[in-house]
């Protein structure tokens, strides 16, 4: 009723800013969402530095590094798609770039799955069979590792779904797949990427200092 009336009026630039700003505020909230877990990580690491280092040493740095590269590349594709969104008639190119970013996201998830499986087989999953039960802090490290990467994976899955919808929408030149929305979706994707950039050294590099 009134929603249609409201979204139908006002300058386009103003509307674009409103959508973007809404996404920024949402991302601020998301920062604190992950921030709680990262604070827990910091707290644990300052209490049990040896346990966290020993546990961090057991992570699979090669897989983590490959995944970092995949996400960074995907973000570059999304950034290009957003940049082309300003020009008319680039719908096909935008669709392909978004689809490529989606594919990289899916590849990330597949590699993450392989990594989880390895950790399961190596008894690094917290629980009765946890291998490093004697090392104080190691279990907390892996609890937080699975929770944070799990939460990140949930966000990435949502991101993949959103980009896939916009890739399809741009391909079919649907009116709702407009630049301001792709722009907001892109912000979300970059955020999920930035979270990973912070997680990567915390998880994979911290235990490999010496």
């Amino acid at each position: 009723m009134s929603a249609a009336a409201i979204s139908g009026e006002g300058a386009r630039a103003h509307e674009k800013l409103t959508a973007q700003f809404g996404m920024w505020v949402f991302l601020a909230s998301e920062v604190l969402f992950f921030g709680g877990l990262i604070a827990a990580y910091t707290y644990g690491r300052s209490h049990w530095p040896e346990g966290f280092a020993a546990a961090g040493h057991e992570t699979h740095v090669v897989l983590g590094t490959v995944n970092t590269a995949l996400l960074l590349t995907s973000s570059a594709f999304v950034a290009m798609a957003v940049a082309w969104g300003e020009e008319r008639g680039k719908q096909r190119r935008i669709a392909w770039l978004l689809a490529a970013a989606c594919a990289l996201g899916v590849a990330f998830m597949a590699i993450k799955g392989v990594e989880y499986r390895k950790e399961w087989l190596e008894h690094l999953v917290p629980g009765p069979h946890f291998r490093m039960a004697g090392v104080r802090g190691a279990e907390l490290f892996f609890v937080l590792y699975f929770l944070i990467t799990g939460l990140h994976a949930v966000h990435l899955t949502i991101g993949i779904a959103v980009l896939a919808v916009f890739a399809w929408g741009a391909h079919r030149a649907k009116p709702w797949a407009e630049p301001r929305r792709i722009d907001a979706a892109g912000l979300y994707w970059h955020f999920v990427d930035v979270v990973w950039i912070i997680l990567y050294p915390l998880i994979y590099l911290g235990g490999r200092a010496q």
């Binding site: 009723m1 009134s2 929603a3 009336a5 409201i6 103003h14 800013l17 409103t18 700003f21 809404g22 505020v25 949402f26 601020a28 909230s29 998301e30 604190l32 969402f33 992950f34 921030g35 709680g36 877990l37 604070a39 827990a40 707290y43 644990g44 209490h47 917290p126 629980g127 104080r136 802090g137 190691a138 279990e139 907390l140 609890v143 937080l144 929770l147």
Partner: protein, 535 residues
């Protein structure tokens, strides 16, 4: 003057309400819901006060008692206080006050109500299944290791309600930035809008931390992983840090909007410009900022380092400065004013008085040596009830009475409203002032039986609660009565300033018949000019 259909007349079906995206109707939906929860939470408090009327444990078992005060806390904090002024009054007023047609994201606004209701339903289910015995703070390791009550279900409910808070906060922030009418600069905003804006920042930044913390507790209960539980290699203090990182700012979620309400009502009934407008706005932001940095004062006796305790103590004293600025400025606004004691003013002045007592006793608790004596006693209980009930609930009632004519288009019987305001003020003080003394004497909180020497003061408190309950029930009747029999209010019955008073009562669906003209000065009252209500 007619400006098309009022928002109340725009559709009468249930569907037209449940699928509305009109911020004013969503405000009404919230109002109905929180009123229901207020009475459920109040019922639990009633049983608590009845039990405490006698020293012996004679009414309910200790286990039931634990579940009662937990239910009271969870319902009142998350289902009543946090949404009260922001989601009801803020929803209704922010677009009107800034001259907008609606919030920036009307559909997210409606969704927030459904998320809130879903979370509320889950919490009610957890209570119906037998309740929770951890207290509203869910302290670990009790909540993760020992409690056999429905902790996970209740936490899921609070988790869901949190997302409704985030949606509401996000909407207000974007709305205030993007949808102000031409000419409505930041320093022409009513202080109520400033307060809601600052509250929204807290909602958006603090609530996710609560969500993740509660998620960790549930994960620990379900999968026995060690985050907080020392038996599995976790740390219980970590919970307190994370919980209070949200829950202390949450106090400001409850009280900042109340300050905004007082800042609207006091100038109107003193016919004075608000004293120190810019300082008031900065004080709001100051409280919101420092409020994020004081959570450790809940943990003085939990074993955190003395250095940390000293820093948190200092910061807690600092937050009193902007709060005091506000109290002094309200008082200065009254000076040489032409004061009228209509019902909204009585409620607003009650708020200032009770908030001042609550704030000053907060300084007792912020000081390290005193807190060792007072922590976990009735002094703490009384302190936060003075802020949350004396402050926030009183201000919610003030807002309800001040904007009732705008919301409904009807006037209530002012004499009854004044009686209720006085009853609530007196009843509240009778209920909670004795608890300060009890706490100073050493009576611990959360006990359902106590030594006989505490009985006189407890009986005083329970009797006061009866008066308070009567005060809370009265508005239900005279406000309800006014819906059918109250005379038409007119656009501006109190001759107040602010854009919301320039449109009809109740406002049309799109708020303003034509683009509202923003006055040059905010709070342009003159104590020497006669009051001219606009019929």
């Amino acid at each position: 003057m007619s400006a098309g259909t009022s928002y109340l007349g725009d559709g009468h079906t249930l569907r037209s309400w449940l699928f509305t995206t009109d911020h004013k109707r969503i405000a009404i939906l919230y109002a109905i819901a929180i009123t229901g929860f207020f009475f459920i939470g109040g019922l639990a408090a009633t049983v608590i006060r009845l039990e405490l009327a006698t020293p012996a444990a004679d009414l309910v078992s200790h286990d039931t008692y634990n579940r009662l005060f937990t239910a009271h806390g969870i319902i009142m904090v998350w289902l009543f206080l946090i949404p009260s002024i922001p989601s009801v009054m803020g929803n209704f007023l922010v677009p009107l006050m800034i001259g907008a047609r609606d919030l920036a994201f009307p559909r997210i606004n409606l969704a927030s109500w459904y998320v809130y209701m879903a979370g509320g339903a889950v919490i009610l289910v957890s209570l119906a299944m037998g309740g929770i015995d951890t207290g509203w703070t869910f302290y670990t390791p009790y909540s993760t290791m020992f409690s056999n009550s429905w902790v996970s279900v209740a936490l899921a409910g609070v988790f869901i309600v949190g997302f409704s808070s985030i949606m509401t906060g996000l909407n207000f922030i974007v709305t205030v930035h993007q949808l102000r009418a031409p000419g409505m600069g930041w320093f022409k905003l009513p202080l109520f809008v400033w307060a809601i804006y600052a509250t929204s920042i807290i909602l958006v930044l603090a609530t996710p931390v609560l969500a993740i913390t509660l998620f960790l507790v549930v994960a620990e209960r379900l999968w026995q992983i060690g985050v907080f539980d020392p038996a599995y290699g976790g740390d219980p203090l970590l919970f307190q840090h994370l919980f209070w990182f949200y829950s202390h700012p949450a106090v400001y979620i409850m009280v900042l909007p109340a300050m905004g309400v007082a800042s609207e009502i006091i100038p109107c009934f003193a016919r004075q410009r608000i004293f120190g407008y810019r300082f008031m706005a900065y004080a709001i932001l100051g409280i919101a900022t420092i409020g994020f940095l004081v959570w450790g004062h809940h943990m003085f006796v939990s074993g955190q380092s003395p250095a940390a305790s000293m820093v948190f103590s200092l910061l807690s004293f600092l937050v009193a400065i902007p709060s005091a600025i506000k109290v002094f400025n309200w008082t200065a606004t009254l000076y040489k004013g032409s004061i009228r004691f209509d019902a909204p003013m009585l409620y607003a002045l009650g708020f200032v008085g009770l908030f001042t007592i609550g704030g000053l006793t907060g300084l007792f608790l912020a000081s390290l040596p005193l807190d060792v004596h007072l922590t976990d006693t009735y002094f703490v209980v009384s302190h936060f009830h003075y802020i949350m009930v004396g402050g926030s609930v009183m201000a919610y009632f003030a807002a309800l009475h001040f904007w009732w004519p705008k919301v409904t288009g009807r006037m209530y019987a002012d004499i009854w409203a004044r009686i209720a305001a006085v009853l609530i003020f007196l009843g509240f003080n009778f209920t909670f002032f004795p608890q300060y003394i009890l706490g100073a004497m050493g009576m611990p909180r959360r006990y359902h039986a106590y030594p006989p020497e505490f009985q006189v003061l407890n009986l005083f408190s329970s009797t006061g609660a009866v008066v308070l309950a009567a005060g809370y029930l009265l508005p239900f009747f005279y406000l309800g009565w006014s819906l059918w029999h109250g005379h038409a209010a007119g656009a501006n019955p109190f001759d107040a300033r602010g854009l919301e008073w320039t449109t009809t009562s109740p406002p049309p669906t799109h708020n303003f018949a034509r683009e509202p003209r923003v006055p040059d000065v905010v709070y342009d009252y003159d104590p020497n000019a006669p009051v001219r209500p606009v019929a």
